[in-house]
Symmetry: C2
Subunit: 374 residues, 2 copies
Amino acid sequence: MPEYPGTEHERRIAPEALTRQVAAIFAGCGMSREDAGWMAESLVMADLRGVHSHGVLRVPEYVEKLLAKGVDPRGRPRIVKDNGAALVIDGGNSMGQIGAAFAMRHAIERARTANLGAAAVRGSNHCGAMFSYAMMALAEDMIGIATTNALPTMAPWGGKDKIVGINPLAVAIPAGKEAPIVLDAAFSYSSHGKIRVFQQKGYPIPSTWSFDEEGAPTTDTTKAIAGLLRPIGEYKGVGLAIVMGILASLLSGAGYGLESGNMVEGAIPGKDGHFFLAIRVAAFEEPRIFRRRVDGIIGEIRSSRPVDPLKEHAQAGAARRDPASVLCASRHLYAPGGLEAETEARYRREGIPLNAETLSGLGAAEQRAAGRGA
Amino acid sequence: MPEYPGTEHERRIAPEALTRQVAAIFAGCGMSREDAGWMAESLVMADLRGVHSHGVLRVPEYVEKLLAKGVDPRGRPRIVKDNGAALVIDGGNSMGQIGAAFAMRHAIERARTANLGAAAVRGSNHCGAMFSYAMMALAEDMIGIATTNALPTMAPWGGKDKIVGINPLAVAIPAGKEAPIVLDAAFSYSSHGKIRVFQQKGYPIPSTWSFDEEGAPTTDTTKAIAGLLRPIGEYKGVGLAIVMGILASLLSGAGYGLESGNMVEGAIPGKDGHFFLAIRVAAFEEPRIFRRRVDGIIGEIRSSRPVDPLKEHAQAGAARRDPASVLCASRHLYAPGGLEAETEARYRREGIPLNAETLSGLGAAEQRAAGRGA
């Protein structure tokens, strides 16, 4: 996740202070200290890794969910079907982050003995960046896989009805000396959250990101938000999103697509679904060998030749306004998660860059939560 | 998988006759009657579903592998690590189709009791279209997932070194009255096989499919084959391909990327790897309810509004020469696998359209295999 344009003008906030501030906001909304702490930690981790679309930018919307939209700050996830390697979890209408972390922890616990562990979640809500859950598997020498249902923002390829979510997939793979491989990709070129960041900053979006309501491409953030997100790889991306949505919703009995809400009226509380899978590496291969080979792949990518940045070519041309275009000018190439790991190290030193709108949103959320507590 | 341009001029071949012809060719190469039969069945199934890039077009190349490139026509796959839900299979340098089907069968068998079953394969070779294996799970009310390592044809995003395979992912999901959802997507816009079909026909390829050797987009099939396939969704697609390659190669100890060969010298026999996963629906949800909901999703897609085909828009514009552009002119939209199921029904009635080069390749392979047998 490369930096957004204009980052150099933003205030730098220390991650520890930001975490405390955000945890206090969620505690003020009635969440337990532990749950509020995890909410804060997971949102700040997204910002630290440069995924601002899923960072503390979301706090006002989450506070709204807790105080006015019917998500239960005291909701408790529980196992409702226990079939060894296969679990169904009901999130109990808790914040998605709470049910998702509960589910991934249990999938990992089952994989310790069964070598594979899967947890399908219903009764949940928006759970933030999926990489947070996939990465929980890494410390156990497991591969973590996470996917979720998302409110519909895409049409089937060739269509204009907004009935498919961008249903992201995250995969985390343990490495040795290198940063782990962490992929977290929705099946659209962009996310609504990312378009909102561009809208906040007043930048147009790349023409590959969206269609308007009639299916024509647009660089206008307002038309894009009213219109359709564009799937990666045309029918392939939307097909992948449909499949992930089914895994995330139909195995647990959660709402799929419009059953869980829409982008105008928002999500119906407690209808969201997710799916998590943990794969124990040692059941297949000696983890030391596996990690060494992952390191080799990361090194091979880093030492491979970048395209000539001075040459006019589609990779830079199509992506001129796209954060990804910075890749073309980088010193080297990255395996998935490599740039995010570097960003995290830098932001831990230098602070997290947050724009004025995110900061004022945080301030307003703080006052709102404090007012409720008083 | 929509039709290729020019299909209307091609000869129509009955699938049964084609299967017998192809089975005889592989038997002539020294494969057992059973193995040769499955080879033929899986290749003809790809043609039946319109996936000609992975159909009998491949026979001459497979015959070459068996007779001159060191793949063992009598190779036998076996389980080398048995950890309940997790299996490692050594393909014994058999044709990839043989080891892959063996592995998926065993993953399914394990999922019957453990609810999940995974098989990682090494010692294998090119195994054809991945949907064949994912679909084996459907009859058991399981979700089938299949991925494989492929010879490198892509660069990391922003790069020009051909070090990443397009490493496809196939997912098959049982439906009720509708055709099952069957997704089979490589993480490039196109495959080498599909570009070869365009080259055979003398058509240029869409500009989104490839880069030349320096990373510039090209519509020239020869430059595309010498150059790079273009990932879907830029860094997302190549990231997904890296992750699938790791699942397919590092869990089993197979070769990853260039370790399994390259596009100039070809594959090193017995270095390929695959990964299969079976998920038993009943462990999570009542299969009747699950299948009914899948039917609902398919119906929702079919009855959704297509974009206006007369309007100039990017979906048709960018895809003018792309087989996918036919979607825009279709009567209705499709869930993944829906168009393929319709194509299969039609080709079973009307015969499979095969072009002159594919037919002459088959004839030459037949003579070569017969000559060896004599």
